[in-house]
């Protein structure tokens, strides 16, 4: 976690400071290929969600049109490119509308966990004390527990078992939030603890800056630079969790929203009866979206880690980027941060961040 020498880097232009755009410029070769592919897939996902109403031939809960009922489990045809489900829904339409549900869950989950996780992390890291220690232990406990199981319990609690659109979205998002907060918390806390010890914070204190000003002006802006990475990972995670909840039957009512995991769950018995189209397309939609997000995440990870960055640009970038490494889908470092928190509040792994999937 080496912050750059002060004088080495002049204030950079705006386009260099926007995350992702900066990395895009920074990348070369294969890495750029992966990043661009990921971004394109992500763009397709987002655009589909925005223009779902235009793209989808039918509504997500539509079972008939002017020419009559769609019929159940019809194979792909010109009228229904992806066929229809047992409930006579158009598969293509549900796949398209499903992007909206997915994006909703991602946005709600990431924003909530970001706010809460960052706030707690800043507080814990900056002020320390008994609250810090309790938070660390709680977060470690949650962190260590199989997240999906927690998500199931929480989804029952949050939605009261109801499966309206918002009930379902909030249940999925809420359960993801609880699982993610510890991740943001740990990263931000560790960064805060580190930055707190930096001379510039000391000097700000000496100059009489208030705690809140220090936290928000100095610590916050520095501690949050690893966030874009975690956000991409969590977005992928959010979609997978939503799908898993849907698959386990804690999904969203099909007339309230289209949800891929739920459709897959419903399609299970179709697959075993040779009706492949009801499962394949929602499944592919999940894979496509998660793949896109992960490609972006993986590229950001590489670019953030000087060891992994394209060889040619290493020298140029080394001065300005912290040696941050986040491994998508897995932690790169040892043990929970809790011990270090209790022990001396200082140590952290050599890469700075730990992110569990």
């Amino acid at each position: 976690m080496t912050a750059a020498p002060v004088t080495a880097v002049p204030k950079r232009r705006l386009r260099d400071r926007i995350p992702v755009v900066h990395q895009l410029r920074q990348s070369v070769g294969l890495q750029r290929g992966m990043l661009v592919t990921g971004l394109v897939m992500l763009a397709i996902f987002i655009l589909t969600a925005i223009f779902a109403a235009l793209i989808a031939p039918y509504g997500f809960a539509q079972r008939a049109d002017a020419s009559g009922s769609f019929g159940s489990q019809q194979p792909p045809s010109p009228e229904h490119l992806f066929g229809t489900t047992v409930g006579s829904y158009d598969v293509l339409s549900r796949v398209v509308w499903g992007t909206q549900t997915a994006i909703l869950v991602v946005v709600v989950a990431v924003i909530l966990s970001l706010f809460i996780g960052v706030a707690l992390g800043l507080y814990s890291g900056y002020f320390g004390g008994w609250l810090d220690r309790i938070l660390v232990v709680i977060c470690d406990a949650i962190y260590a527990f199989p997240s999906l199981l927690l998500a199931i319990v929480l989804s029952i609690v949050i939605s009261g078992g109801q499966s309206s659109l918002w009930g379902g979205v909030l249940a999925a998002a809420g359960s993801i939030v609880v699982v993610f907060i510890p991740q943001y918390f740990r990263v931000i806390r560790a960064e805060t603890v580190r930055i707190k010890a930096e001379p510039f914070v000391e000097s700000a204190k000496v100059l009489g800056a208030s705690n809140s000003r220090i936290v928000f002006k100095h610590v916050f802006r520095n501690a949050t630079r690893t966030l874009p990475l975690i956000i991409t990972l969590n977005s992928a995670e959010a979609i997978l969790t939503l799908a898993a909840l849907g698959f386990l039957g804690f999904g969203i009512e099909p007339t309230a929203a289209a949800e891929w995991g739920y459709d897959l769950f419903k399609a299970q018995s179709d697959v075993t009866s040779g009706i492949w189209w009801t499962a394949l397309f929602p499944g592919l939609a999940i894979v496509f979206t998660v793949l896109g997000i992960m490609l972006v995440g993986e590229s950001l990870n590489d670019l953030a880690d000087p060891r992994l960055r394209g060889r040619r640009r290493v020298a140029q970038a080394a001065g300005e980027v912290a040696a941050t490494s986040v491994v998508p889908g897995g932690a790169l470092s040892a043990g929970p941060g809790g011990l270090s928190g209790l022990e001396d509040g200082e140590t952290f792994d050599e890469h700075g961040i730990e992110v569990k999937r």
């Binding site: 809960a61 079972r63 008939a64 009922s69 019929g71 159940s72 489990q73 489900t85 047992v86 409930g87 006579s88 829904y89 029952i156 939605s159 009261g160 078992g161 109801q162 499966s163 309206s164 039957g249 804690f250 009512e253 099909p254 007339t255 309230a256 419903k266 299970q268 018995s269 179709d270 697959v271 075993t272 009866s273 040779g274 009706i275």
Partner: protein
């Protein structure tokens, strides 16, 4: 599965009612008995049902009942393809006074472990049911049982609270009727599964040979079985427990198991019907689906701002006119559920088609014009907004599709706008009795196959639906049929009840499930046991 409170109420009401001549059950000798020819072979059955607790005092669910049916003796039972209650373990059973039901056992009965099976076991069974009264147990069905007496080794006298209860013999064939060994079971607590299996405390057509809870249970034919059914045709039956219907389907399709019973999805069954390696066997089903109206909170209900019983009735009638049962049956259930036009499923004595005559176009099809006319006459501005609740999963994976069809058939008339909401089962159970739902889905699987089980729990005051329906006429008729011994007179009463409830529309029944088993082509006997008892008896099965 009857509400204890409703039953108790009925018991009190009935006790005050007219006393009717005692019913005598024909005392015919139990069939089979003598022949001891060794059956051979092995059959493997797969199911997605689950066992809860092997002890009959601690379970009240169909998955466990399926086990009890094979291994525990019952005093009374029904024969294959019959709904007539006959002595099973018993030699005779009859009302010896209005409140005394006397059962005699043959002499020399034995449990599979060699213990004597006498009246003391029977007394012990019912005493412990009442004593333990386990929250998950079926003791609530024994609402009318006061005490049990065993004057000698072969005689049992049940002292009842209400007189001439026609339902009591039926209850002896159902959940609490499984007789247990008093030398093995604990008198005051649930006996663990392993102890029961180890002690071999069985006396049904089969005994359990090895027991891997909810994974694999292996049965062996019981050579000492003496009861109604002929001896088991197959020596060894293995039952494999599944959790995913799709895995069960694949295994039966690939021939890894011989029989798949309860519950394959409709899509799977349709697919298997076209498969030459298996045969699909259908039997009558007692399972029904119905739509419940909460008379307080439905549109124009008693506690709404614009309360108006006439308008509320018009709304219910219009819905009854519009539901497209054929579409649900064909599109969603592929024929594994059939349209139901009355409160009592077709096949049970007394069932009619009250709703077919009173609603729709008279032939079971929806009739939007009739519905529109009703609403107009009642002075209701359309569209009427309906919030319909259904349970995710509880009644099978097709509920969401089923309700999508209902929503469509209501909305396409332009008379209703429907908001569907599905809720997870536990929450649903709490909310529906708290008047939170105005129109909601329910399903019913009977405790015993008799019309009473489709009326008493639903349409008495303070019924388990808690939908605030009350019609004194209906109440009286229901109480009367329960103590009417003459079958014809009772059926007439039951018909009248259905007509009256259909006019009130406390609920709208719309689907009746068939029992479907899928077997390998070499498996015989499935048709025999898919009968109105709704008990799948392995003793009937054989493999060629």
């Amino acid at each position: 599965m009857t509400s204890a409170s409703t039953n108790r109420r009925r018991a009190i009401l009935a006790a005050a009612g007219v006393s009717v001549a005692a019913l005598t059950l024909a005392a015919c000798a139990p069939g089979g008995g003598g022949s001891t020819e060794a059956a051979g072979g092995t059959i493997t059955i797969g199911t997605t049902e689950q066992i809860t607790v092997l002890d009959p005092a601690g379970s009240y669910d169909n998955g466990t009942l399926a086990v009890h049916t094979q291994v525990f003796p019952y005093l009374l039972n029904t024969d294959y393809q019959s709904t007539e209650v006959q002595p099973d373990l018993a030699e005779s059973a009859e009302f010896t006074s209005p409140t005394e039901y006397t059962v005699t056992l043959p002499e020399g009965l034995k449990w599979a472990n060699g213990n004597d099976l006498t009246s003391s076991d029977v007394k012990f069974t019912f005493d412990r049911q009442l004593k333990i009264a386990d929250p998950n147990g079926p003791s609530s069905l024994l609402y009318n049982l006061d005490s049990v007496e065993a004057p000698d080794d072969t005689t049992v006298v049940f002292h009842l609270k209400a007189e001439n209860d026609q339902v009591f013999p039926l209850i002896l064939t159902s959940f609490p009727g499984a007789i247990v060994d008093d030398e093995v079971f604990s008198p005051d607590e649930i006996t663990p599964d392993d102890e029961i299996v180890e002690a071999n405390a069985f006396a049904g057509p089969y005994v359990i040979e090895s027991y891997d809870f909810n994974n694999l249970v292996s049965y062996k034919a019981n050579p000492d079985y003496k009861g109604l059914l002929p001896p088991a045709k197959t020596e060894t039956v293995n039952v494999k427990y599944y959790t995913e219907a799709s895995n069960l389907k694949l295994d039966v399709q690939e021939g890894n198991i011989d029989v798949a019973n309860r519950t394959l999805s409709a899509t799977d069954i349709e697919d298997l019907r076209g498969n030459d390696n298996v045969k699909v066997v259908d039997g009558p089903g007692g399972e029904i689906r119905y739509l419940v109206f909460n008379f307080d909170t439905m549109p124009f209900g008693a506690t709404t701002a614009e309360a108006d019983p006439a308008k509320a009735l018009a709304v219910r009638q219009a819905i009854a006119d519009l539901i497209d049962r054929d579409a649900i049956s064909e599109d969603v259930y592929k024929g594994t559920f059939t349209p139901l036009y009355s409160y009592i499923p077709a096949g049970l004595a007394g069932a009619n088609e009250a709703l077919k005559d009173q609603y729709g176009d008279g032939s079971g099809q929806p009739d939007p014009e009739k519905a529109a006319g009703r609403l107009e006459t009642a002075g209701i501005t359309t569209p009427v907004e309906l919030n319909i609740q259904y349970v995710a999963e509880r009644y099978g994976p097709s509920s969401s599709d089923e309700y999508a069809v209902i929503k469509d058939s209501l909305e396409s008339s332009g008379l209703f706008t429907v908001n569907l909401q599905s809720t997870e089962w536990v929450q649903y159970s709490k909310d529906r009795v708290a008047d939170l739902y105005s129109v909601f889905q329910m399903g019913w699987f009977p405790d015993y196959s008799d019309a009473d089980n489709y009326l008493t729990p639903f349409f008495l005051p303070e019924n388990f639906l808690v939908n605030h329906y009350e019609n004194p006429e209906v109440t009286d008729l229901i109480l009367e049929q329960a103590v009417t011994p003459d079958p014809a007179a009772r059926e007439a009463l039951i018909g009248e009840i259905q007509d009256k409830v259909a006019a009130d529309l406390s609920t709208i029944p719309y689907m009746q499930g068939a029992q479907v088993a899928v077997t390998g082509t070499d498996v015989e006997g499935t048709e025999d046991t898919l009968d109105g008892s709704f008990k799948f008896r392995y003793a009937a099965l054989s493999k060629g």
